[in-house]
């Protein structure tokens, strides 16, 4: 693989990029012990606070810390301006797409996206067809994963429009950095991220159904303490100043949702749900769900409660649908996509499948419904037998897969044992949408692959995080 673009030093040369100049100088004269001491301090603090996540199928160590790297990743004002515009455009298109899919389906009739890809998609919810959520907003909270391959080369890696997570780390990381490195903040004008929770609250309020009064009751719905993102759920409820509820706390009466309180039933208007569609209501979806609320969908259909994100948004973050995003953006906004897609082979197309099978050892192959870094093949890092396994799966079920070239993700200086080393990073900015408009919080969650050379940044696969600084002009 060619040498990756480095966020600090650019392409290969040792010239530090403008935005990193002060940090570079600071790092150069900071004693290595200082960084390590700060890193330990951060870890102690995170452990004390219980800033943890649970790992799937890992009952032994039920709670883990996500490794936190103390060297920030910096994005200058001009770079961010482009990203922000592109993100707004993309999420606006995603919302229009969802509105259309569950409405007139013009984009299907116009052939922008193959009809079968949508209507037979496991994330497509026929129950929602013909219905509109309060305010006609579908994706209130989006997390768009971006990677960079060069000075001007940002790509969208995937769209997360179901229940994207990680925003608590974005906020906690910033708190931590301001505590550990106040000097650096004096030197840099870093755009604050802590308005996120405020924007989220206003977004959710603005999305309340017409039946809600002037002061709608908002709650965060979690599957419970054993969910991997439980810390984030409780963190958000806390910052929003709303109740963190589990399914059992709610009941539906007369198509209205109530929560059980010490003072009797209280009506709920907006649910920021962190439960997948499948588990929301055992009467409509999976009957074995114990984390949902029987009758919730009836209340939803009656327009008495807002679910954020809306039911059925999963169809838009499917990896096969992703490949059509440039066309989707063009169709709904009349503009060319400002943020590029990674070139992608759709294995459902025979030509593409043939091309993919011919170079499996050089590609990344992903399940269209997969997430969290599970069920994917990273060709260059895979063994022969892993590749052959995947070949068999691909041939058996080509519709289930897409393939992409192994991108040379940008690297950023990261503290590693002895000192600083270049490690691959990605970026997940968060985009909020309500009837009042679309907002992007400056920055997002930078994830970093801590193993030398590794391209996998998912926390469930041992990745870490860093603070992301967007600079003011």
């Amino acid at each position: 693989m060619t040498k990756a673009f480095d966020e600090m030093t650019g392409g290969g040369s040792q010239e530090v990029r403008d935005s990193y100049r002060a940090l570079g100088a600071w790092l150069e004269q900071a004693p290595p012990d200082l960084l390590r001491a700060r890193s330990r301090q951060a870890e102690l603090f995170f452990r004390r606070m219980g800033v943890t996540f649970a790992v799937h199928g890992d009952a032994e160590s039920n709670e883990r810390l996500i490794p936190f790297d103390v060297v920030p990743r910096i994005i200058d004002a001009a770079e961010w301006a482009l990203l922000e515009k592109g993100l707004k455009q993309r999420v606006t298109a995603l919302n229009a797409f969802l509105r259309d899919i569950y409405g007139p389906q013009e984009c299907l009739r116009a052939g922008v996206v193959p009809t079968d890809l949508i209507l037979t998609n496991p994330q497509y919810r026929p129950e929602i067809q013909g219905r509109r959520p309060p305010g006609d907003v579908w994706c209130h909270i989006a997390g768009i994963d971006l990677v960079r391959t060069g000075e001007d080369g940002f790509y969208v890696l995937e769209d997360n429009v179901r229940t994207p997570s990680g925003v608590s780390y974005m906020l906690e990381n910033r708190e931590m950095m301001m505590r550990l490195f106040p000097d650096l903040f004096a030197e840099y004008r870093v755009r604050p991220v802590d308005a996120y929770t405020d924007s989220l609250l206003r977004s959710l309020q603005a999305s309340a159904p017409a039946t809600a009064g002037a002061d709608p009751t908002i709650v965060v719905l979690t599957p419970g303490p054993f969910n991997s993102a439980y810390y984030e759920h409780s963190f958000l409820a806390d910052k929003l100043g709303v109740e963190l509820i589990q399914g059992g706390d709610l009941f539906v009466n007369d198509d209205t949702v109530f929560m059980r309180t010490t003072e009797g039933p209280k009506r709920v208007d907006v649910i920021y749900r962190r439960i997948d569609d499948d588990f929301l209501d055992p009467l409509t979806f999976r009957p074995d769900s114990t984390v949902g609320v029987p009758g919730l969908m009836a209340a939803y259909h009656a327009g008495r409660v807002t679910l954020a994100n809306a039911v059925g948004t999963g169809v838009a973050d499917d990896k096969a649908v992703y490949t059509y995003m440039p066309e989707i953006i063009r169709f709904f906004t009349g503009e060319e996509a400002l943020l590029k897609n990674v070139p992608t082979w759709r294995c459902r197309e025979p030509e593409a499948l043939k091309a993919v099978l011919g170079q499996l050892d050089q590609l990344v192959v992903k399940e269209v419904g997969g997430s969290g870094g599970y069920g994917m093949l990273v060709g260059p890092a895979a063994t022969k037998s892993e590749i052959e396994d995947f070949r068999a799966r691909l041939i058996a079920d080509p519709d289930d897969f897409i393939a992409q070239p192994t991108l040379s993700l940008s690297t950023a200086p990261t503290l590693d044992g002895g000192g600083l080393a270049a490690r691959h990073v990605d970026l997940r900015p968060f985009v909020l949408t309500s009837p009042a408009g679309t907002r992007v919080t400056p920055g997002g969650l930078t994830r970093v692959a801590l193993k030398p050379g590794s391209l996998v940044v998912n926390s469930s696969q041992g990745g870490g995080t860093k603070d992301t600084w967007v600079l003011n002009d």
Binding site: R47, R48, M49, G50, G224, P225, Y230, S234, A237, D238, E243, L244, I245, Q246, G248, D249, M259, R260, T261, T262, E263
Partner: protein
């Protein structure tokens, strides 16, 4: 507040209190077993620790026999004991975690710190390490109590935490007294004899009340005065009367905040009224054991009323 939140707070309060109580029981047992007496006195000390914790059924069912090792292990860490110290702290932490948003950072850190500490210390088998472990548990309870009282808003979250703590504390004090009355003295030992005296004294130590006793009564340790201190003395924070006073005041605060009284308030107030009239002579006359059993039953009924009224 969500009923589930109130329920978790109430039980977090109960479990933390219980962990502290178990540490005290074990400390007392170590002390009693060290008394210069016949061999069976030591066994009796360990057996009484099991009985006063209210887990004799589970202990016997697990096929265990009382000895220093078995009792220490069972009460502190026992995997087959759902209310061991370890289980209590773990449950308190689980309760706290699921209502993280209802707690202050300081209180969460105190409870989470207790749980982290538990995992770091492990399960010491040496006696000195074990005693250090008990110290850790007690200081943890102090930290939790301090964080609660110094940082929590005086709202329903606070009242439910406190309510759980007070109900559990009343329960524990009652059990403690009952065990001394019933179990501790081996056959052949004289009531009022040296062993009897040491046992009453140890019981006072167990609840950090030996000095208090001296200040209040200015007498050597006598059973009916110890009982008076632990049952009726309103200055003694662990006495049944004190706990009952707390229970009533927390329930009244809830009633005031919510603008509604219910069966829990009525039950609690009625019992407090009876405490105000009670005299230790009458209690001894009609039987201390019977009195305590009746109290424990009422305490259960009160717990059920609170559950019914607020927690479901």
């Amino acid at each position: 507040m969500l009923s589930r939140t109130a329920d978790n707070l109430y039980w977090a309060g109960r479990y933390m209190e219980r962990a502290d109580f178990l540490a005290r029981i074990l400390e007392a047992a170590i002390r009693l077993a060290a008394l210069p007496a016949r061999d069976e006195a030591a066994v009796t000390a360990w057996a009484s620790a099991i009985a006063s914790s209210g887990v004799k059924g589970a202990f016997d069912a697990a096929g265990r026999t009382p000895s220093e090792t078995s009792v220490r292990e069972f009460l502190a860490f026992g995997g087959d004991n759902p209310t061991s110290i370890k289980a209590c702290i773990t449950r308190a932490r689980t309760n706290a975690r699921s209502v993280r948003t209802a707690l202050t950072v300081e209180l969460w850190e105190a409870i989470n710190g207790a749980w982290n500490g538990l995992n770091e210390i492990g399960e010491p088998s040496r006696r000195d390490d074990f005693v250090n472990f008990l110290d850790f548990v007690k200081s943890t309870a102090l930290a939790v109590e301090g964080a609660t009282s110094r940082t929590m808003l005086r709202n329903d979250a606070y009242w439910f935490l406190r309510l759980g703590m007070a109900i559990e504390r009343a329960d524990n004090t009652a059990r403690l007294l009952d065990v001394k009355y019933h179990l501790l003295l081996p056959p052949g030992e004289r009531i009022g004899g040296q062993l009897d005296y040491f046992q009453w004294e140890t019981l006072l130590r167990e609840v950090s009340a030996l000095t208090a006793y001296r200040w209040v009564y200015r007498e050597s340790v006598r059973p009916w005065l110890v009982a008076d201190l632990l049952l009726l003395n309103r200055q003694m924070p662990r006495s049944l009367a004190s706990c009952q006073g707390m229970i009533v005041s927390y329930l009244e605060r809830l009633a005031a905040d919510y603008g509604r009284r219910g069966p829990a308030q009525r039950l609690a107030s009625a019992r407090l009224a009876r405490f105000n009239e009670a005299r230790i002579e009458d209690i001894f006359q009609s039987g201390l054991h019977e009195y305590i059993q009746a109290f424990l039953n009422e305490n259960n009924a009160l717990g059920a009323a609170i559950h019914e009224q607020y927690l479901v």
